[in-house]
């Protein structure tokens, strides 16, 4: 589909692995509510930085792994992350030109879409969310975005991932 050079695929894989680890690390309850969805954020980053490499298919696959890791319905996060990857692919030109703290607001919207999709499916199978706290991870993700962006950008430049 593309003839662009491809290098450093292992960096992308490793960043997802770290995101999976961060998603499972135990946190105190008060922070746990705001635990960002690291996997989705890493996906958004790569979708923005390397849209020709990380797209809907990668999003779906990563989401499927997240389903297994979380013990969710197979396909639940896959659907949500495929949608997030699609939206990233459609909007990255507008998002990535602004500084990271401004990007954070767009990221908030993308993460909200993901949360709503995931919980919509949970609701369908009989686990409707009890309160509005289920949107809190998106807020946590927005706060952490500038940090994640700077780290991943430096990693990408250092290892020359293209």
């Amino acid at each position: 589909m593309t003839t662009a050079p491809r290098a450093g695929g292992w960096v992308i894989a490793l960043s997802f692995l770290v995101a999976f680890l961060l998603a499972g690390v135990p946190l105190p309850d008060s922070l746990d509510r705001f635990r960002p969805d690291w996997v989705a954020m890493v996906l958004i980053y790569w979708g923005m930085a390397l849209p020709h490499r990380v797209g809907i298919g990668v999003g779906w696959l990563v989401g499927l792994l997240l389903d297994v890791g979380r013990g969710a319905l197979l396909g639940q996060h896959a659907l949500a992350l495929a949608a997030v990857a699609y939206l990233t692919g459609q909007t990255y030109r507008r998002i990535r030109v602004v500084p990271p703290w401004q990007q954070a607001f767009s990221i908030l919207v993308l993460l909200l879409v993901e949360q709503v999709l995931v919980f919509w499916i949970s609701g369908v199978i009989g686990y409707p969310p009890r309160d509005w706290w289920y949107l809190a991870p998106a807020v946590g993700g927005m706060v952490c975005w500038p940090l994640l962006f700077v780290i991943l950008r430096d990693v990408r430049r250092y290892f020359q991932v293209t």
């Binding site: 662009a4 020709h52 890791g69 197979l74 919980f119």
Partner: protein, 287 residues
């Protein structure tokens, strides 16, 4: 490069359709259990990696504890063992007596249970579903429907057994119902999960029923999943509303569901035979 990409929406549609198919198949027909098994096994090292910091800290505190602290702990444990042994003596005589009486009545004898100890893997699931992941799986003899306890009482049951790990649903999950009995009066009902670790709800108890705050709830053994007589919770709130036919009764689980580390899985030789009674089975049910 892809200034306009009409194929993106098409691809999104395809992937979404695929996820809807996998979700339906997973939810309704369980054809994908094999796939999940393979992927879950691949995740196993990851779970251990996540636990590594906590495990290391525990290992260090255990190994670097001072001699004094160890001696103190040892003395405390010995004291506790004597106390428990004394209770156990009483229990053995009671059990023997119970068995004799039951044989006199020609009713089913309680089958002894074996216990498998599993540790919770420190992995956080979706905060709205009370599921925990355990480090014992099918290879160790875990099976779906196996009751799980901690040292205080019932915590839940196994809903999925992978080769090396298993998933348990807690009694406080909003989709879980547990057949129970009030120990003092013998009234049978269900304990429904509320999605809150500290609350169980007891439906269908009439306003004129004798229920007091502090009453102990034990499993009734109906439904065949849980053995009878294990503590479940204590009643914390009883509200009689003259306008509604049933009392509103809230209980608190005796197990510390938000601080689980080790879990005991009961292996039942055979389920106790108990006359069928109008109570729902212990399987997760729709609220």
């Amino acid at each position: 490069m892809f200034a306009v990409n009409p194929s993106a929406i098409l691809r999104l549609g395809l992937w979404m359709a695929l996820s809807i198919v996998t979700m339906t198949v997973d939810h309704r027909y369980h054809y994908l259990d094999g796939v999940r098994d393979v992927l879950a096994t691949a995740f196993y090292p990851l779970h251990y990696l996540v636990r590594l910091p906590t495990d290391t800290r525990n290992w260090l505190t255990e190994n670097l504890a001072t001699r004094g602290a160890l001696l103190e702990e040892n003395a405390r444990l010995r004291e506790k063992q004597i106390f428990l042994n004394a209770q156990l003596q009483k229990l053995t005589t009671l059990e023997a007596e119970n068995r004799r009486l039951r044989s006199l009545l020609e009713s089913a004898v309680n089958t002894p249970e074996r216990v498998l100890i599993a540790e919770m893997l420190a992995v956080d699931f979706d905060p709205y579903r009370h599921y925990i992941l355990l480090n014992r799986g099918r290879r160790h003899g875990v099976y779906v429907g196996q009751p799980a306890l901690d040292q205080h009482g019932i915590i839940g049951q196994i809903v999925r057994a992978d080769p090396f790990t298993s998933t348990a649903i807690l009694i406080t999950d909003s989709n879980h119902a547990l057949p129970i009995q009030i120990n003092r009066t013998g009234v049978r009902t269900l304990a429904l999960g509320t999605g809150n670790f500290q609350e169980l709800e007891l439906p269908h108890i009439p306003n004129n029923e004798d229920v007091k705050v502090g009453d102990l709830l034990v499993t009734s053994g109906l439904g065949g999943r849980f053995p009878r007589g294990y503590p479940v919770g204590t009643v914390t709130r009883v509200e009689f509303d003259p306008g509604s036919p049933f009392a509103r009764i809230i209980a608190k689980p005796v197990a510390q569901l938000d601080r689980i580390r080790e879990v005991m899985l009961l292996e039942q030789g055979a389920t106790e035979s108990e006359p069928a009674a109008p109570a729902a089975p212990a399987a997760p049910q729709q609220p």
